[in-house]
């Protein structure tokens, strides 16, 4: 065998290498491992324990008001739910489409759905695929409605609560919500309409539904 290879010309050797690699391809299996994921259980557990996996609704609201452009918000619900209402800078990527999305691995991404469950599952999927900056919106849309859109102040507020509510009221107005003053000690939440979607959108996202610039990769 060694003699055979020594006697071969350069072209011959190239041909042998090519043939060998081609032949091995019969046994090497599928090249599509893109859907595979690795879960570093220790690292993920630590992230969860330190709450570094979450972002609160107030924090997110502040980011949006300050006009920060270094993050993306992903709405994991259906197209219909998204159309009815979504956070101003949010893009709609239903869970099924997470694998093929335009999300980049180094971006800061905040995930939300109705509460926190779906977002937590999506967080796990994306972390397993190596996404570094994913966060769960703590409490999801429910918490957003509760704290940001429809903040409430009880009938007999403490001074601290008054101050807090004044601030919350401004934030709520920014997002088109309706601050509520509750009667007496009641904690019942009156039904309020969801704000229309003509929202002050974060400049970077270019408003809801603005397509990311289409990457032309043909020839």
């Amino acid at each position: 065998m060694g003699d055979f290879i020594k006697k071969l010309s350069l072209n011959g050797r190239l041909a042998v290498v090519a043939f060998a690699l081609g032949f091995l391809a019969l046994f090497a299996g599928t090249p599509y491992h893109g859907a595979d994921a690795t879960v570093n259980t220790k690292e993920l557990a630590l992230t969860m324990a330190t709450y570094a996996d979450q972002v609160g609704v107030s924090t997110l609201a502040d980011w949006i008001i300050q006009g920060k452009a270094d993050f993306r918000v992903v709405d994991l619900r259906s197209e219909q739910a998204y159309a009815e209402y979504h956070l101003p800078p949010a893009e709609n990527i239903p869970v099924a489409g997470l694998g093929q999305s335009s999300l980049m691995h180094n971006e800061k991404i905040v995930l939300y759905a109705e509460d926190g469950t779906r977002a937590a599952q999506a967080w796990m999927l994306l972390k397993a695929k190596g996404y570094k900056g994913v966060y769960i919106l703590r409490g999801g849309l429910d918490a957003w409605k509760d704290s940001i859109l429809f903040p409430r102040i009880p009938g007999n507020p403490t001074p601290a609560q008054v101050v807090e509510f004044a601030r919350a009221r401004e934030v709520s107005k920014f997002f088109g919500g309706t601050p509520q003053a509750l009667a007496g000690d009641s904690t019942a939440v009156p039904q309020a309409a969801m704000p229309k979607l003509a929202m002050p959108a974060s400049p970077a996202a270019g408003g809801p539904g603005a397509p990311k610039k289409k990457k032309k990769e043909g020839c």
Partner: protein
């Protein structure tokens, strides 16, 4: 799984342009090394005297194909993130036919025309201008041809998908075909050279 680096956000668009330029330099360099800046060398393929177009093209395809396959199999690359141009079978076949005609009439293809121009070939420059005219004419007449242009869309389609054979099988088949083709090409060239001596 780290490659393709750009798709994993390792660098941005601006550095991507630098990569484009660098890749282009490599591309042009090896095209010229192969002799593809010269229309006579290119056209010789179609008169069986010098089959280097076939040899270079398919060696390149096999090399890149094997590289992509094995990098993906071993998990260094996510193949699903590499862009695959969608298939439009009929217009691509007709386009290929027309391009082939243009190749033997003009002597260069768009890429090799650039190499020809860079090495001083005036015929390459004329062809280069012709390409602009062709693209312009096509685009101006686009409403007339857009129906056919968009016909037979098949989405992103690979040979393994079409044949329903495993990817690795097709890789082996392509290697075999290429090696067989190379052996055949060497034989044809020898025969043509011998015939030239006899003549």
């Amino acid at each position: 799984m780290m490659a393709p680096f750009f798709k994993f956000g390792l660098f941005g668009d601006n550095l991507g342009m630098v990569v484009a330029f660098a890749v282009g330099i490599g591309f042009g360099f090896f095209l010229e090394r192969a002799g593809f800046g010269n229309a006579r060398k290119l056209a010789a393929q179609f008169y069986f005297t010098d089959l280097r177009v076939f040899k270079v093209m398919f060696t390149a395809i096999v090399t890149a194909m094997l590289g992509v396959y094995y990098l993906s199999v071993f998990g260094f690359m996510d193949l699903s993130l590499v862009y695959l141009t969608p298939t439009f079978l009929a217009p691509q076949m007709v386009g290929g036919l027309i391009l082939g005609m243009g190749f033997v009439v003009g002597g260069y293809c768009p890429g090799t025309a650039c190499v020809g121009v860079a090495t001083g070939r005036i015929d390459a420059l004329v062809l280069f201008i012709g390409i602009f005219v062709g693209i312009f004419g096509f685009s101006e007449l686009f409403p007339l041809v857009s129906g056919f242009y968009n016909a037979t869309p098949m989405g992103q389609l690979t040979l393994p998908q079409v044949t329903r054979l495993p990817y690795g099988f097709i890789v082996f088949a392509v290697v075999l075909m290429a090696l067989g083709g190379f052996a055949g090409a060497e034989w044809v060239e020898k025969r043509m050279a011998a015939r030239k001596v006899e003549a």
